[in-house]
């Protein structure tokens, strides 16, 4: 490219050029896919959220009317409240519990470590739809549903699990806990393996007990991984769809299972209102971005 002098050594020169072009060829699949399947649809989503979309017939610009309609929808607030609670519950359980499990697996002398790791990993291999269908039957409302049967031993219930806001949330959270406990454990285990055993030995010398070691060594050392798990969990929590859809389809009684993504799906494919659907999508994007920005800031990701 920048050749000026006479071409004495043609062959090496061509190679050097290739070496400059090659990286762009290697990364081109990402650039093309990013432009075509991310940037273009993202810009369309924003544009469509300001439009009345009439299918093939074309679209008309309607300004903020989709957003006004969205902010007037009870379903939207129900969805926000549901995904917010869902995310909080999954974080409250799926950070400390897997951390503890990883700690116990990692400690010296725990038997059958490999076996437990494999078993905990099995749920994530199962499709959420299939898992959800099994849970849906376990939560069936008659007396003979599995959960009601178990509770009857303690003279509790029977509950209409999937008809009531509190039990519905429980039914959603339990799938998440069941499915992700293994993966989060593996994440935390990888972090623990980065902690030198010397630190624990030194703590042993000082007479620290198991809890103190967990509280004052393990938790602080796991901070970078915790930030990572938090970030992906927040994204996944606010994007909840499959489990809710398997339990209730696109519309749940009193919106107890409505989420932002079921709302995207329902407004588009049940109501045919694609503009409104895109407005929900934009809201989802803003919420996830803002929450993750605050979270990473609070966790000190940008310090140092």
């Amino acid at each position: 490219m920048d050749s000026t002098g006479p071409e004495i050594m043609t062959k090496p020169k061509r190679k050097i050029n290739w070496q400059k072009v090659a990286p762009y060829l290697f990364v081109s699949p990402f650039i093309i896919a990013f432009l075509l399947f991310s940037v273009y649809p993202f810009v369309s989503a924003i544009k469509m959220s300001f439009e009345q979309v009439n299918g093939i017939a074309g679209s008309t610009w309607i300004g903020l009317r989709n957003y006004k309609q969205l902010f007037g929808l009870n379903e939207f607030y129900a969805a926000l409240w549901n995904v917010f609670r869902y995310t909080i519950w999954t974080l409250l359980i799926l950070i400390p519990l897997p951390m503890l499990v990883a700690f116990v697996i990692n400690r010296k002398g725990t038997p059958l470590k490999g076996f437990f790791k494999s078993v905990y990993f099995a749920p994530v291999l199962t499709s959420t739809v299939i898992a959800g269908l099994i849970f849906r039957y376990a939560f069936s409302d008659d007396k003979t549903g599995v959960f009601n049967q178990w509770l009857s031993v303690f003279h509790l219930g029977p509950f209409d699990w999937l008809e009531n806001a509190h039990t519905a949330m429980f039914a959603l959270v339990i799938i998440a806990v069941w499915r992700w406990i293994g993966v989060n454990t593996i994440y935390f285990l990888s972090g623990l393996q980065g902690i030198s055993p010397d630190i624990y030995e030194a703590a042993d010398m000082d007479g620290a007990n198991g809890w103190q070691k967990f509280r004052y060594i393990t938790i602080p050392m796991l901070k970078p991984i915790t930030i990572y798990v938090l970030t992906i969990s927040i994204q996944a929590g606010f994007s909840l769809f499959n489990e809710s859809y398997v339990y209730w389809g696109a519309e749940s009684p009193n919106n107890i299972g409505t989420t932002l993504v079921t709302l995207i799906y329902k407004t588009a494919f049940t109501d045919g209102n694609f503009g409104l659907s895109c407005a929900v999508g934009v809201a989802l994007f803003i919420i996830v971005t803002v929450v993750n920005a605050i979270q990473t800031k609070l966790m000190g990701l940008y310090d140092n």
Binding site: A22, P29, A33, T128, N148, S190, I232, F241, A268
Partner: protein
């Protein structure tokens, strides 16, 4: 000395009980599924989800129904899932390994920018794009086709990130000496570095397969006719009260989990490494 030893045994037992209880809780849904798959459907539902084992009432009828029910539509779903999973996995591996390699092995203008975009895309809630992507696929005439399901997901950022991290750990010296020998850039990648990236390919094969095999919302939107469904969408559609397809549910679920479980059992280490290196390092 004796009491320390006893304390250790107690601690190990406590650890075992703790982990064992969680393991039981994790396995219960699999148990439900497996037991139910051998039971008469009417029997399961007349008594809620009855999961007691009673061999006299258990048989293989549900598995046979996978072939007979609606002319064996289940195996059409299975075929669709297989084709989509295999094609998508191959494309993802080829394309993302190239991108990851390019980002790790070359210094070039825009490299950091592209890497930051990859990182941002890893956190991006993809569902935001559902509707415009649906329009795009419709415009391209790919609705109700395998290509429509596969194409938008062939260069996922997470997989690029994984390959990039892995390649950062590989020595660039091989490339230098190969260049001196007159080896072309793509051949350096294909003949020298791809073999070195074998562990990364192992982990990513499994993760990509798992994601494609279990994907639900996007194939549900793209595939309009029930013969084109993938397994999760098909099984869910079998749940309609009118279809009388409940027989498919549990046996079909078991059969859909079998391949992924087999891959897992034979590649456990690659599985776990895939999650670890892809997610955490860097």
């Amino acid at each position: 000395m004796h009491s320390i030893k006893r304390q250790k045994i107690i601690n190990n037992s406590l650890a075992f009980i703790f982990l064992g209880l969680i393991a039981i809780a994790v396995l219960i849904p699999f148990y439900f599924m497996l037991v139910s798959s051998f039971k008469n459907v009417a029997q399961i539902f007349s008594n809620g989800l009855n999961v007691n084992i009673d061999f006299s009432k258990m048989n293989l009828d549900n598995y046979k129904a996978l072939w007979t029910n609606r002319n064996g539509i289940y195996w059409l779903w299975y075929r669709n899932s297989l084709i989509i999973t295999i094609v998508q996995t191959i494309l993802v591996l080829v394309l993302t390994s190239m991108v990851g390699y390019g980002l790790a092995m070359y210094r070039f203008k825009g490299r950091n920018l592209i890497f930051i975009v990859v990182l941002i895309m890893m956190m991006f809630p993809g569902d935001v794009l559902t509707i415009p992507l649906y329009y795009l696929i419709t415009k391209l005439g790919l609705l109700n086709t395998y290509a429509g399901v596969i194409l938008p997901g062939v260069v996922p950022a997470g997989t690029i990130f994984f390959f990039r991290q892995f390649c950062m750990g590989l020595a660039p010296d091989y490339a230098e000496s190969a260049r001196l020998d007159g080896c072309g850039e793509f051949r350096i990648f294909w003949n020298i570095y791809v073999p070195l990236m074998k562990p990364a390919f192992g982990a990513m094969t499994i993760l990509t397969t798992m994601g494609a095999w279990n994907s639900f919302l996007w194939p549900l939107i793209v595939m309009k006719s029930d013969t084109n469904f993938v397994i999760p969408a098909g099984l869910l559609s079998a749940m309609t009260p009118y279809g009388n397809n409940y027989q498919l549910l549990f046996a079909g679920s078991v059969m859909s989990i079998v391949p992924i479980m087999l891959i897992f059992i034979f590649n456990q280490k690659a599985f776990q490494d895939g999650f670890v290196v892809g997610g955490v390092k860097g």
